[in-house]
Amino acid sequence: MYRYDGFDREFVHARVAQFRQQVERRIKGSLTEEEFKPLRLMNGLYLQLHAYMLRVAIPYGTLQSRQMRQLAYIAERWDKGYGHFTTRQNIQFNWPRLKDVPDILDALADVEMHAIQTSGNCVRNVTADHFAGAADDEIADPRPTAELLRQWSTDHPEFAFLPRKFKIAVSGSPIDRAVTRAHDIGLRMIRNVVGEPGYEVCVGGGLGRTPMIGSVIRDFLPEADLLPYIESILQVYNAIGRRDNIYKARIKITVSEHGIEAFRESVEQRFRIQRETFAGEHQALLARIGAMFAAPVWIEAPTGAFDAALARDPVFRSFVDTNLHPHRNPDYAIVTISLKAHGATPGDATAEQMRVIAGLAERYGHDEIRISHEQNCILPHVHKRDVPAVHAALREAGLATANVGLASDIIACPGMDYCNLATARSIPIAQDIATRMKERGDERHIGDLKIKISGCINACGHHHVGHIGILGLDRAGVENYQITLGGDGTETAALGERAGPGFAADDVVPAVERLIDTYLELRSDDDEAFLATYRRVGMRPFKAALYPDTAAAAGR
């Protein structure tokens, strides 16, 4: 696990001390809000609808138990006893008071966490596959790369004021669980024909107002060229990215306005110069970082307890079915803890739940926890013999919901219940769909289905890449929900297609059910997932199901 060195620690504490003084000056009135706002945003502090909100980075989604316990402590001491895990591998506290924020930041710094660069037009928290270092399908652990990028980008003077925010994601597996194609830069670790490690580099992906799937700018970048190449991309973007119009400022617009070929040419030109200026130091650093992410010492023990529980207990069986993923060590499993109990707020965890998860990680999971962009928690390394005990403990804590990857495992942004920019609520829609799925009782039969909900076009809830995407809009002061179909955030990335006119809040659940029922009728067999059926049959039958009146009228 990466541990801060002396420099990191001093840097973070010094930033907190600075911010403490700024908060004091703001409270005394010697700083105006206009002066203070950029300062607080630099420290992850937003003002939302009902309160301040503090956004804390969880670099590449990795946490240790002591960090999780500290988040629990913060939630209890300074917030309302819970936290919200987001699609960006951050945690948001929804109710901190201004004067307490420096204390919260100090408490975070004590466990090597912070809120730096969780806001503003800089390189944001670098995200990675939440199964990093554990998945059986992985080529290499993406976290050393993410950590190298984090260190390089933190407080980088040249890139503190980019045209707009900048998001980088890294995947170490051909199975893309990090949505790399919807990031400003998406990196996929690959090997070239002679087996050397490197990256496929994508640029110009993004969601929001103008969603785009990233384009490959380099199909093989040798590992040693990573920083000079990324720096070249940022330099070109910094120079030619638009600053005249905030809606055209993201790199996706720069790339699409100039064309990927011209953009690539500019980057390659910069890169030829950049590469000379980079000494080999960052490669030595990458090696040092890599060593810190070495795999734990695996336990060697029989897995009989697992097989026995599987044979005996149907509840355990269904948990294993959905919430376990194959581990690179066949005696181990990756256990996903769903934060999507039917009817609960997606991504929320109470302090008590955080402590349970911390305890399980410590006792059974080599002290590692991950947060996924799908707003769930993961124990990446659990020996199979311990999975029954983990499951039993999760059941006791109300955390054993066996729905990972199913219709009720919904991503939802905070929406208008919290967010200042929202045009509609997302949480109650997610709650209603999940509750209905439980009543129907057939979500296992339905199978793999990703529903993603955003409360405005900023798309924090990833709706464009949901198999069913739901976007909340404001139609003359009334919440209205637009449905998109066929989105995909994985290695076969695609943007969802708009189905038609929006639905009133009360009509969303029935509309989703009509889509599901249509799919069940149309699928070739039980193994054909919703997305595959959609790709095979297209929009038409789904559209007809969504708008039966229009379809009937057209048929008349």
Binding site: K80, L98, A422
Partner: protein, 100 residues
């Protein structure tokens, strides 16, 4: 073209805890929308807004939000966003609802 003025309440967030506040009939800031003053007159509303904007040490981001007189419960905000600000989030009894 200036938008036609609609009767409004004056609202902001409290500097210290971010809670939603309203300018009350007695000129103080209140946390209850029911106690908010409903401005029927545009000039008066704008004067109060300007005064609120200078209270940097008390509130953040004051603005006028359309509202209707409502009944005994006092002015009711028109837009759903303002309705949510007045009551708190839907998913928990965590916001202003707790005080009710």
């Amino acid at each position: 073209m200036a938008r036609a003025f609609r009767p409004s309440i004056l609202t902001a967030n409290d500097l210290l805890d971010g809670d939603v506040v309203y300018l009350a009939r007695d000129g103080a800031w209140t946390r209850r929308s029911a106690e908010a003053r409903l401005f029927e007159d545009e000039d008066e509303a704008n004067r109060s807004l300007a005064a609120a904007e200078s209270q940097e040490d008390a509130v953040v981001g004051p603005y006028l939000a359309a509202a209707v007189p409502g009944g005994q419960l006092g002015p009711e905000p028109v837009h759903i966003r303002e309705a949510l600000r007045a009551t708190g989030p839907t998913n928990y009894c965590h916001g202003k609802q707790t005080g009710r």
